[in-house]
Amino acid sequence: MQSVIDYAIFMLDPSGRIISWNAGAQRIKGYAAEEIIGKHFSVFYPPEDIAAGKPDWELEVAVAEGRLEDEGWRLRQDGTRFWANVVITALFDNTGRLRGFGNVTRDMTERRKAEQALRESEERFRFLIQNVIDYAIFMLDPSGRIISWNAGAQRIKGYAAEEIIGKHFSVFYPPEDIAAGKPDWELEVAVAEGRLEDEGWRLRQDGTRFWANVVITALFDNTGRLRGFGKVTRDMTERRSAERALDERGRLLNHLIHAQEAERRRIAWDVHDDTIQSMVAVGMRIQLMAGRLPDEHAAAISRLNDAVTATIGRLRHLTFRMHPPEIDRVGLSVALSDYLAQVASEAGLMWELRHDLDREPPPESAITIFRICQEALTNVRKHAQATSVTVSLSSADHGVLVRVIDDGTGAGPSYDGPARPEHFGLIEMRERAELAGGWWNIEGRSGGGTIVQFWLPTPPAGGPAERYRPK
């Protein structure tokens, strides 16, 4: 007992005066036995504890309950403080009379520092994760439900923590991935191989898509039991657009689409400026002749004039399908608004075009957007039995986001599935968007009606895609 040095072990008389002292006590507190024996043990307490009456209170508790344990600051002989774990035990004789107290004190300063450093480090790390905004970092329970959320996750995916915690992580996947069972498959691979990395389209809260790099890590405890998954997601939309533009295949594809559109535009303009004008002049001449020829030719001339008029109509329709001239002359939004007005008046629909584009999209994007809208509006007119249609164009993710919304009978997921192979227009719309490096989807609205939405990247003018433009 005397030579124990890790613990200060000493005894107090019933009034709290020190009556024994060991080597550990001398080492921890600094006093030699002859300096301290006979003194009241309150000398070890800082002034604030003495003012609060803590030494006497501790003895009272020890008497009442047999022992007392406390952690707190104590003083050394030189006035410095150490963090102490103190156990005071009341000592009674056979008759139940209090004979004094045993006091065991341990210097916990180092351990306390280490614990505090660890706690602070954990807090800093948690703070770091919570505030990282470039990455969505969150955890899933073993069944795939979201149990934590950070600032990056909110920024990238749009949900606030309280909106998403508890939901299954498959809400981030597009319908086609869910139909293919991809979310569960990814967790299975992560369990089997420890981690899984994937790149693909994911959904934001507002239904728009972003190109994600995703790493899922399976988390096991010491016993090897699966505790959940860590998921780190990065928004790569912008980088993907840049890489696609640089990628050889992407450039070739762009070149082909551009060459095709340029040819169609040239033919459309030729037909419009030359052929149609000639036919107009011919028609006007026929009408002039009608007034000058004898009556017996009237019927024939009239038929001839009708044929010319019908041909002009067909040629105009042809040039429109080849390349709507309005896109070149007045820009995408005006061309779309004119087209929308025409379709809506034929079908008796209310319509609205909203647009807030930063700039006019480049011609190859403009024509693709126009074509997809054309298909979508054809579906609205033929199948939706809608009373109104809204088209919105907005700048998003360095591209153009387009929504065609109607209030008709609704399409729902089956519209998009293999059950409706007759709707080739849907496949064509999707292919056009994907060829241009974007995405496309169709879904039913909760209140009835259908939303077709798609996004196309718009490479900045002068970017790599421009190099193949014919001069």
Partner: protein
């Protein structure tokens, strides 16, 4: 009347259609916007029939200038395009008759006569 159109076939047939009317007289024919403006200023026609897309500034420029230099001249737009934005632009410079090429000759004649008698 004055005719402004860069397509000779259209120019010629419009002239014949108008001259077939006993009360109409075509005083000038222009192949571009500047020529149309110059001739309108010189001849002060009652009505100018203008193509919308033609060289040297287009029908919009020609209409604006003719209205300024020959205020009594009324203008018929005779265009291959019927898009509302273009129609609206022309209306803003005072063009109230807008015909898309391919309408019956009688419609063109009626529009010209409306403006000529109104003036």
């Amino acid at each position: 009347m004055l005719i402004g159109d860069d397509e000779p076939m259209i120019r010629d047939v419009v002239r014949e259609v108008l001259e077939a009317e006993p009360d109409f007289d075509v005083v000038a024919v222009a192949g571009d916007a500047e020529e149309a403006i110059r001739l309108a200023e010189r001849h002060r026609p009652a009505v100018a029939i203008l193509d919308v897309r033609m060289p040297c500034g287009g029908g919009l420029h020609a209409a604006r200038e003719i209205r300024r230099r020959s205020p009594r001249t009324r203008i018929v737009a005779f265009s291959a395009y019927g898009d509302p934005a273009v129609v609206e632009d022309m209306r803003c410079v005072g063009v109230t008759e807008y015909l898309v090429k391919g309408v019956p000759n009688a419609d063109l004649v009626a529009a010209v006569r409306r403006l000529a008698t109104a003036g």
